[in-house]
Symmetry: C2
């Protein structure tokens, strides 16, 4: 029988602490505030924004929406970011990406000041993750994986860990975070020759491939911990992770579900960053 | 019988190309110039500097030495770095480290402009390595490992690779470079539980632990490629690598020797960076 590492439980614990911290800030006259920058009406962006706003409401964080048309020029977008950088009542920003083609992603990302970069998208924040020195904030999803481990008392030190995926959003930063916590880390990707072997030998698996149900029961074994970062849609149109959760149900795994796993924790980590940013100005 | 991956052979090939490129620059009136900044008379610094100057001479790179007393203040050191940043006749700089205790390493490192950072010590250069975007220059030793692989036609794509060490000078950057080249990368360190197992299963081993002869023959097997980054002194006072080269001699390995391996290539990679920096201004 699999043990469910419930994201909702982690979220509840984080939110309780965040609500206290935002109340303390408010008592000092500070309302933590997150800017969300969106270009156009992409359904994915809107869904993500709605989720973030709901979470913000729950923990006492204000949201300011900056909506530009999808056809906005890079200069218009940079002007909004400059405004956010200079506005002391806005503590951090989330830029909904990918941007449309007329926008140079790297230029815009790096225009945001690191201390307002709530999701680790600037080179400065990423350098902080790589070099293990405080600068900006780490990508929320990677930090959410660590929050799940911490909540359930799982210490990755010395663990053989396999990370599936090498993106800057999750694969590379989670590898760096696990190294810092003394795990032995293997990074796999689409060009890995024998993925099943790399997954089977791990004590801890971080699945961040973005491929529905690519981690199948035959790649897994009793006793493993599996953090499933994937948010995919299966053939029946249902949300599913990177792991075939049902097929692996007979194994003695500890596993995060999708939905209700890492995703929900990610939203709370984002709010934690906003509150930290507001606290840092006290 | 082990096959020797001679660093000298790689160096000779790189130097030949560098001499041509520096001659072409000189024909345009540009003498590539490297600044070396040293605090005091530490024997290790002086030995390193001497090696770099010899290599610079061989490939037509000028060296300008900036020597401060070991007791220099951080402000004095920063003034030198500002001078180098602004001097268009100096194309790049090497700061001999570790600095003495009165100097904050991170502040000084990051004062150097990324485009003059010849050895990947600024956060901006390291972010470039992590995010795989061009910025500054990568750490020379990590790039030297890749140069050895390239020279001998070893393509790491799909290879199970074990990196021993997680430093910013070599372990982490070489892991990122190998990932970019599609290797499956495992990063090990002092807290890894079964190092022998991680080394034995690899097709390619990058040993950068800085521990004399810690990779012993029983951890290795026929057919492996071993890049030995260690520069250590053994009990008899001789230079040795991280691998027990003699004990492993009966195996069918491809291995870089110490001395005469990665170290010599590193100096040429440094000069290549200076010449690239000079070329970028044409």
């Amino acid at each position: 029988m699999a043990t469910v590492l419930s994201g909702k439980e982690v979220t509840a614990a984080i939110n309780a602490s965040l609500s206290e911290r935002s109340a303390a800030l408010l008592a000092d006259g500070i309302r933590p505030c997150l800017a969300i920058v969106r270009l156009g009406q992409e359904p994915g962006d809107i869904a993500y924004e709605r989720g973030a706003m709901k979470r913000a409401e729950a923990v006492g964080v204000a949201v300011r929406q900056y909506v530009l048309p999808r056809t906005a020029s890079q200069e218009e977008l940079l002007a909004v970011i400059r405004e956010i950088n200079e506005d002391t009542s806005v503590h951090g920003a989330l830029l909904l990406r990918p941007f449309p083609v007329q926008i140079d992603d790297r230029t815009v990302r790096n225009a945001l000041r690191a201390e307002k970069d709530m999701d680790g998208i600037t080179d400065a924040s990423l350098a902080g993750v790589f070099t293990n020195t405080p600068c900006g904030y780490a990508p929320c999803t990677a930090e959410a994986c660590m929050a799940v481990l911490d909540h359930y008392g799982i210490d990755p030190a010395g663990m053989r860990t396999t990370v599936i995926g090498r993106s800057l959003v999750i694969g590379k930063p989670i590898a760096m975070m696990l190294l810092r916590r003394n795990a032995t880390v293997t990074i796999c990707h689409t060009r890995t020759k024998d993925m099943a072997r790399e997954i089977r030998r791990a004590e801890l698996v971080i699945a961040a491939a973005g491929q529905p149900k690519m981690v199948t029961a035959d790649m897994l074994k009793d006793g493993q911990i599996l953090i499933d970062v994937g948010v995919n849609v299966d053939e029946e149109g249902n949300l599913c992770g990177d792991a075939d959760y049902e097929a692996a149900g007979h194994l003695d795994l500890s596993i995060t579900p999708v939905p209700g796993g890492v995703g929900t924790v990610t939203s709370s980590v984002l709010m934690r960053h906003v509150i930290e940013a507001a606290e840092s100005l006290r």
